[in-house]
Amino acid sequence: MANFITKIGLEMHCEMSKTNSKVFSSAKNEYCEIPNSNIRPLDMGFPGTLPVVNKEAVRLSLMASIILHCRQPEYMYFERKNYYYPDMPKNYQITQNPPEDCVGMEGFLDVEREDGSQFRVGIDNIHLEEDAASLDHYYDTSCIDYNRAGVPLLELVTNPDIHSANDAVTFLEQMRSIYQYANISEADSKKGQIRCDVNVSIMDANLDEENPENWGTKVEIKNINSFGGVRDAINYEIKRQSELKSLGRYNEVEQETRRWDEESGTTIRMRSKVDAIDYKYFVDPNIPKFKIESSWLEEIKKSIPLLPLERKAKYIQEYGLSAYDAKVIVKEREYAEYFETCLEIGMDAKTSANWLTTQILGEINRINISIKDFYLTPKLLKQIIDAIKNGTISSKQAKEIFYQALEEQKEPSSYINSDMAQISDKTELENMITKILEENPQQVTEYKNGKDNLFDYFVGQVMKNTHGKANPVITKEILKDKLDKKR
C-alpha cells in the first residue's frame, strides 16, 4: 500500500460551551441532564420568534478565526440552511455558507507531532452556526431534547492536507487544546461537544499531489464522536480504498457519504453524493448584516491567552522545565492552570512540575477525576512542599502525608507537626554519630581500608536510631567529615 498517498480533510464541529446563552436565543447555554430545561420559544420554533445574535459567541468565533490565521469578514451575516428534520424545529439551521463570507476564511495551523516534528494544515474556513436538538431513539419511539438546540457551534473545515490517521488525530487534539486554552469550549467529547466528519481519498504516489486532477475519489464519513473513532475510521477507509485500487476495482470507490459503525469497526454507505440535498441557502433577513470593526478584532487578538505550544516553550525557557514535563503539563489547560497557580503562590517551578506530573496526575488518572476536583489544591500542596523545604519533613514523609491527606480529605498541615520534624540539630547528630562509630569499630576499620559502600551502612544506623527523622543531608555531611578524618 506504500504506493498510494492518502489525502484527508476534516470537518470538526465544536460546541462553544463558554457563552452564557445560546447563539440566537436567550436560553442558558449549559449542559443539563434534565431534558428540555434550557429552552426558550425560539428553540422550539414557535411562530413569531426571532433570532438575536449572541455577541460573545461572535467574539469567541472570531478569536478562533484569528488563532487559525484566517481572514475575517468585513461584515458578518448568517444564512438559512433549509431542510426538514425532527431535531430542528424551525426546519432551517441558521449558519454561514462558505465560500460566502463567514467567521474565518483561508487560514492554517501548524501542528506538532509527538516526536516534535511539525506539519501545516490549511484551513478552508471556520464558521458559526446553531446546534440541533438531540434525539434519543427507542424501540418504537424517539425523544427530542431541545437543550442542545441553538447551542453555538463552530465548524472548522480543513483542506485535504493530512496524510495519515495519526496526523489527523494530532491535529484534532491540538485544536481541542486550543479551544480549551482560548476559553472557547470545554471541548469535551464525552459531553458530545466535539463531532467530526472525515474526507478520505487515495492517489498514486508517483503523481503530482499539487494537481487536484490527480486526486482520487473523495469519500465522506459522517458523525464520528471520538478521536479514536476518527483514527479507526480513517485507517479502515484507507485499507478499503487501497485494496479496491490494488485489485483494479477502484471504480467501486464512489463519491459518497458513509458512516462509522463503532461496533463492527467498519464504514457503512449512507448515500451517494449524487443524492446530495439542496439546502436552498439564503441570507437570513432577521439578522441585519453588521460590520466587524478592526478595532474590535485588535481587542480580541490582544485577549487571546498563551496557546499550548507557546506555553510549552515558555515553561522550558523561562522555568527550566524538561521538554517532557512541559509537554505533559500543557496537554490540558487545567493542568497548566494548576501549575501556574503553584508558581503564583510562590512555589518552585521544577518542584511543582515534578509533583504535578508524577503524584498528582498519577492519582487523578487512577481515580478518573478532573484536576479541578482534586482535593489537594496548589495551596494545600504548598503546605507539604514548604515543610520539605524547611526540613520539617523528609520527602518520604511528604509522600505519606500526600496520600494520607487525600485519603482523609484533611489539610496536609494537620499531619505536619514537631514530632515529625527532622533532626537537623548538628550537635545532636554529631553526638549520636560519634557514639555509633564507637559502637562499630570493625566497620569503621573496613571503611578505612577502602570499603566505600559501608558509608550507607552508617547512614542507615543513624536513621534507625532516629526513626528516620535525621536530616539526611546533614547526617551525610557529618559522617563524611568524621570518617574521612579517620582515614
Binding site: 420559544p41 420554533g45 414557535f46 438575536v52 433549509n82
Partner: protein, 482 residues
Amino acid sequence: MDKTIEELHELLKTKQITSKELIVESLKKSHEVQEAYNAFVTILEEAEETTITDNLLSGIPFGIKDNYSTKDILSTGSSNTLKDYVPFFNATAVQKLIDAGAVPVNKTVLDEFGMGGTGTTGHTGIVKNPWDPTRMTAGSSAGSACAVAAGVYPYALGSDTGDSIRKPAAYCGIVGYKPTYGMISRYGLFPFASSLDHCGVLTRSVTDAAIVVDTMKGIDEHDMTSWDSSHIHLYENRNKEVKNMKLCYIKELCDIEFYENPTEELKMHLENFKEKLELCKNLGMEVEEVSVNQKLLDTLPSVYVAISCAEATSNMSNLTGIIFGPRGEGKNVTEMMMDHRTKGFSPLIKRRFIIGSYILQKENQERYFKNAGRVRRLLVDTWKKLYESYDAVILPVGSGPAKHLDGSKDILTKDTAALEEHLQIGNFGGFPSITIPDGFINGLPVALNITGNCYEDEKILSIAHALEQAMPYKNQIAKEVR
C-alpha cells in the same frame, strides 16, 4: 365606538362613559359585524375593563389581526395549520398596547398567514366589505379593515408585507399606516416574508394612527431589526407645518394616457387624485410630476412574488403539526408532517411554497432570487433618489374602489398591474407609508397613499394629517351603499 381615540379618552376621563361600557358596546358591535361580514376568528367575550390613566389608549377596545401571537388567546394566522394554537407569549406590539391599558376585544381574519390580497382565503371564510358586501375588503388585514370601518372600535392592528394594511384601508375608506421597517418590533408576528413584513395599524384618522403607533413602536431586544425611535413623536408632531413641502407623483402611474382601455372607474379615480394634488398645492405644498422607467415599474409584481415566496417557504417550514398545531397522521414523522401540511394549507399557499422553493433551488437562485434582490435594490434606489428632491411620493391606491367578490364583474387589464402593486415599494425599501381616503366612486371609497423616506414618519404623517383636515373623509363609518 364611532369616536376618535381623543374623544373616547375625554369621555372616559370625565367619567361620562366607562371602559366597561365601551367593551360591551364593542363586543355587541363585533357580533353584528361578524354576522354581516365575517371579520373575526375570535371574539373575546371575557375582555375586562382597565383603569383609566393619562394614557390615551387606556380603557379603549381594539382589535388584533390573528397573525399576532396573543398569550392564552387562540392565534391562528387564519390557517388550519394553527387552528388550535394558543400561544404562551404576547407579541411585543400587543404587549405594549396592553401595558398602556388598551383592551383587545377580538382577533381579526386575514388572508391565510397574510399571503393574499383579497380577504377571501382565511380558514374561517371570506370577509365582506362593509360598504358593499358583494365586494372585497382586500387583504390581508381584511377583518381589521372591515371592523374599523364598521365602527367596532377606533383601531385594529394589521401587518403589511406588500400592501396588506394600506390596500384594505383604501377599500374600506379608512386610514392604514405602516411605519418605517423596524420601528415596531416584529417579535410575535407570524412571519410571511421577514424582509418585507411590517407591523402597523388601521384607524379612521391620521391622529389615531399616530397615537397607536407611538405606543406600539420602540427598540426590542427580541428583534434585531428594530431600532430606537424614542426621538420620534408622531402624535405630538402631526400638526407640523407642511407649507413648502415638496411632493411628487409618477407620470407612468397617474396619467390616463398610459392605459390602453381605461375603465370609467380608473378615469374617475385618477381624476379625483389629480384634484387632490390641487388641494395639496392649496395647502402650500409643491407638487411635481416625475417619470420612472416603465420597464422598472413593470417588474414590481414578479420581484415581489420571488422575494416573498422564497422567504415564506423557509419561514413557514416550522409549521409541521409536531410541536404545535393539529398533529397529522402517518407512520413516521415525515408522513405526519406531510399530512399536516397537505391538509392545513390552502391551495394558494401551496402554490406560493412551490414557487418559493423553485426560486431558491441552487440552479435557479441566481436567475430568480438574486436577480429579484437586484431589481429590488434598483427600485429602492430610484425612490431614494426621489427623496433627495422630494419630501414624499404621493400616488393613488389601486385602480379604483373595492373589487367584486365575484371576480367576473371586474375588468382586469395587465396595464394596471403596477398601479395595483406600487405600494410594495414601501416594503422593498422599508419606507413609512400611509393610505388615507380621498373620495368616493359610485358611493365606494377610494384612497391615496403618501410614502416617504426611512425614518421620516413624522413628515409623512403631518402631510397626511394636513390633507385629511382639508377633506371630508376623516372618521367616516361604513354605510352599506347597496
